[in-house]
Symmetry: C2
Subunit: 199 residues, 2 copies
């Protein structure tokens, strides 16, 4: 299978990290978001939403949406629990990630790290950073009660939330106030087969 | 089980519609978002994210995130396919709904319908409405090729996207340009056990 992705994107890194951790071979097809390579007619024919990551099988089937890819690929592995209540927690945190965490933590990083912090975005950035801290506080309080997001075991919910959390400081959102969160980042990075972003 | 929800919220309506369609009994606990009832200490103890809907079992377990509730409750029913590829399409559209559709279609409606269209939000609203139309165009093109979002059968992906699409005009996002989308709305509303928002 092929993964169309941008090496700087946390959403793309999620998929890369999962496939490597599961030992599933794949070809990485680099797509540069800043160069508008997700907006070409060729790419839009594969994913009309114009976004990476995109998983493409040899028979041409395409699956977009990073967290949908995580659920689909992890099915049948220990990274996606079968027990209904634990599995519901995985779902809960995957949707929370896309609705509360990514639009604040990742977008702060996008403005600072990709766009080089343009002054005209300063007010928007300050609002996003404040909401990013709210999201990280919520994660921290949750991780004070259990070692991983969905409970006692490492799952795709940890992969999804690790992706942008560990690079939050690149968006000016520093992790010093959140020791339990930093401990969790270390636990995730210590998982067998972990690989770093951009490697 | 109890569902904490706001009768005007599409996210809450999703859960109500699914439970009614499956014939699962539940108690509806009204929570008024505009009156900040999701921000009280009592509610935040149940869901630290301060959002409805929230599913609460008799033993005290709580599940937030509308689309996580849909996946959890629909497991084992025809509304959540077991076949991996069809199921992946359900996941895809549920995440797309929360990332692209809800933040534009639902937030346009929130500004117009709840906040009564304050002039200071006019510029923001125009931007959201333009992006809402992009999302509805993408859905329309998809629905020109298949009767339901995840393929040939009605699933929780249709429930999730119906919730805010059918009330998009309340946000000034009119559906006249999208006949295939309106046909799909009629197909969803014709499903056995369908119930209307706010009923």
């Amino acid at each position: 299978m092929r993964v169309f992705g941008d090496a700087q994107s946390g959403n793309c890194y999620k998929v890369q990290l999962l496939l490597r951790q599961l030992g599933r071979p794949f070809e990485w097809v680099p797509v540069d978001v800043l160069k508008q390579e997700t907006r070409t007619p060729e790419f839009l024919a594969l994913n009309p939403a114009g976004q990476v990551p995109l998983l493409v099988w040899d028979d041409g089937r395409c699956l977009p949406e990073s967290n949908a890819i995580l659920l689909h690929v992890a099915e049948g592995t220990p990274l996606l629990p079968v027990e209904p209540w634990t599995r519901a927690q995985v779902y809960r945190w995957l949707f929370w990630e896309q609705y509360q965490h990514e639009p604040t933590v990742a977008v702060s990083r996008f403005i600072v790290h990709y766009l080089k912090n343009p002054p005209e975005q300063a007010e928007r950035l300050a609002g996003l950073q404040a909401r990013a801290h709210q999201a990280l506080r919520l994660m921290t309080e949750h991780l004070q009660r259990q070692p991983f997001m969905a409970g006692s075991a490492y799952t795709v919910a940890d992969i999804a939330l690790y992706a942008y959390t560990h690079v939050a400081p690149q968006g000016g959102v520093h992790l010093d106030p959140y020791p339990a969160l930093r401990d969790w980042l270390a636990r995730v990075a210590a998982q067998p087969g972990h690989s770093r972003m951009g490697e």
